[in-house]
Every structure is written in structure tokens, then in C-alpha cells.
Amino acid sequence: MAKRGVPLALCFVMGVLMAVQFFVPHPLSRYVYENVLDWMQIVSVFALAVGVIGLGRIHWRRVVVRRAGWRYSIATLAGLAVMGILGVVGGIEQGTPYAWLFRYVQAPMQSTMMSLLAFFVVSAAYRGFRVRTREAGILLAAAMVVMLGRVPIGEAIHRAIPIASNWVLNVPNTAAMRGITIGIGLGAISTSLRIIFGVERSYLGVE
């Protein structure tokens, strides 16, 4: 009972408290709100610690039992240890080893990884953009207009292309995104209510 009842009760109390405080313009309400947000951040750090320990354990075990690809696990563990320790001990300001590693190791690799997707997006588009239906044709036309409107060659082809690109982004695209946003908002509200009232309890896991 306590194993599920206590978390469900805590979830209900915190959910109602945080939802109601929004409508109570009192300094005490504001104080509670700000403190709870700080507490959530502190607890989230420990959730990160769970992730770090979990990843560390998995890769450490791979190295110890010499499982396939164990040498790569050394690279992961070394990267985690070096970046983590340098950050904790040496600080994170500009000019620190942590900032150097971020600038010359992490940031270039991340942006290269993202740019790699340019190649795969193009090949996926080639396969996916075969105009078989009216909807696919509309999608293709919108994508082409937006892409051509963002590069100089678009204006070189016809000066109306950048104008059309902006119009597509500002009018029909905005209309669709606004509809989606309202849908997401209503979905978020209903999901939050389900969580607070204990209807949705998948976060408790299984016994």
C-alpha cells in the first residue's frame, strides 16, 4: 500500500498545490512556488546521477568482461571522467579546461553529428517525397518554396520566391502550427490532470 499510495498521494498534493498557487497572488504562494522549483532542480540532479552511475556501470562491466567493443567503452568512461572531474574541480567559466573541452571537443562533434544529418535528410527526402498523393505534393511544394526562399539561388530564379517563402512560413504554416500548439496544450492539460488524479501512473513502474 505504502509503496504506491505514498507516491500517488505526494503526486496529488504537489500537483494541486502547484496548479492552485498560480491563481493565488500572495507572497507566501510565490515563496512556495520558487522553493518547489529549486527543489525539483535539486532532485533532478540526483536523477542525472542515476544516469551517470548507470552508464558508468554498463561500460565498466563491458570493459571488465571484455565484451565486444569494450575498447570504445574506455573512451566513453574516459570522456565522462575527464569532463566531469574537470568541471567539478576546475570550474566551468571561460578559460578553464572544462570550457576548452567544450569548445574544441564537445561542440565541434555535436555540430558535426547534426550536420551529418544533412546527407541523410536529403536521401530520405528523395525516397519519401515521391508525389503519390495530393497531400505529398502539397508537402513537397511547401518544402521547396521554403528551401529556395532561404538561399540566393531562389531569388536568382525569380524574385517572388523569397516573398512566397515568407508568406508560406507566416500564414499557412503559422495556422497549422497554431492548431498543433493548441492541440498540444489541451493534451498537456489532460495528461497533467490524469497524472495528478492518479489515472496515469506508469511512472511508478511495475511491482
Binding site: 503526486c11 496548479a19 574516459a78 571537443v105 502539397i138 507566416n170 503559422t174 492548431g179
Partner: protein
């Protein structure tokens, strides 16, 4: 200066290691990929240590004598019970705290930012064709998401119109994403050919 030069060389070698995947999956790429995973996680360790643990837990507790922060500390420690088969159920308490509070915060935020503000921005004077298309587009898109009613007759036609607006939205998003990726690719090429090899004119 020397550290900058070393940094540029390190960044260039790692960039090429990742681009080697374009040929095929290979050990050099895998090594870079694994380094990235470790370094990315290590980045958050350093970041959260200095932006959350020290200013929001250590300083209030040790320097300010605020014993209230022992509550999130205790809940955080309960999170670590996930590694014990016997006591892992205790980690549900901090999970419930974060998820419950997060759900509570998100209700007024979603009502305000995602519903109320969006409807307010759609209530515009219908003085131009674009404004009419905008209002009709929002309404048609919402009708498409109305799954509790069969999309038949007039409603079905409006839902189809909503689908077309959605396709324009997805197409525009796709186009934007492609251009963003191409921009990153150009940036990496400028780094390799300019900063590293000095082949580009300043």
C-alpha cells in the same frame, strides 16, 4: 595560443572522424561517437554541480543555515535506491514529487501559453486574404484533430482542408530543418578549410 592551435587540431581530427561515417560505419567513427557520449554526460555533471548543487543546496545549507533544503537532498538520495532491488520502490517518492509538481505547474502554463495566447493571436480583423487564410487554417487544423467525431460530410471536407494546412506546415518545417542542417555543414566546412587548413580567404 598553443592551446588554441591544439584545440583546432583536436576539433578537426574529431570532425573528420565523425564524417568518416559517410563512407561506412568504422572504428574511428565509433571511437568519436563514444567519446561524444562520455563528454556530453560529463558536461552536465560539471554544469549541474556549479549551477544547481552549489548555489541551491550547498550554499543555502552550509552558509545560510536553511535546513529546508535537506528535504530535496533526502528525496534526491532516495533516487539512488534505484540500484537496490529491495529498496528501489523508494525512488518513486522523488519521482512522484517531480512529476506531480511538474504536472501542476504545466496546467496554468499550458492554458495560458498554448491555448489562451494562441486563440487570442488568431482573433484578428479579417481585413486581408492572408488573415482569412490564417483563421480558416487554424480552425480547419483543429477540426482535423477532432477524433471523437467521424470525419464525414461538411466536417470531413473541413478536416481534409486541415490536412492540407498540416502538410504545408510539415513541408515548411522540413525545409527549415534541411536548411539548418546545411548551415551546420557549411559551418563545419568553413572550420576545416578556414580555421584549420587556412585555405579560405579572410
Amino acid at each position: 595560443m598553443a592551446m588554441t592551435t591544439i584545440g583546432i587540431w583536436v576539433a578537426a581530427i574529431l570532425t573528420l572522424a565523425i564524417y568518416s561515417f559517410l563512407y561506412r560505419d568504422n572504428p574511428i567513427y565509433k571511437l568519436a561517437e563514444h567519446i561524444l557520449v562520455g563528454v556530453s554526460l560529463g558536461y552536465f555533471v560539471g554544469l549541474y554541480w556549479h549551477t544547481t548543487l552549489i548555489p541551491k543546496l550547498w550554499v543555502p545549507l552550509v552558509e545560510g543555515g536553511n535546513v529546508l533544503v535537506l528535504v530535496p537532498l533526502a528525496m534526491g538520495l532516495l533516487m539512488l535506491t534505484r540500484f537496490s532491488l529491495r529498496w528501489s520502490w523508494l525512488s518513486r517518492v522523488p519521482m512522484a514529487f517531480v512529476i506531480g509538481a511538474g504536472a501542476g505547474v504545466s496546467i496554468p502554463t499550458a492554458v495560458d501559453a498554448r491555448v489562451y495566447r494562441q486563440i487570442e493571436a488568431t482573433m484578428i480583423p479579417l481585413t486581408s486574404l492572408s488573415s482569412v487564410i490564417l483563421v480558416v487554417g487554424v480552425a480547419a487544423t483543429l477540426v482535423y484533430f477532432l477524433f471523437s467525431v467521424r470525419h464525414e460530410g461538411a466536417l470531413g471536407k473541413v478536416a481534409t482542408l486541415g490536412t492540407w494546412f498540416l502538410m504545408v506546415g510539415f513541408g515548411a518545417t522540413f525545409g527549415y530543418t534541411v536548411m539548418a542542417r546545411i548551415s551546420l555543414l557549411i559551418g563545419r566546412m568553413q572550420f576545416l578549410l578556414g580555421d584549420w587548413l587556412h585555405l579560405l580567404a579572410d
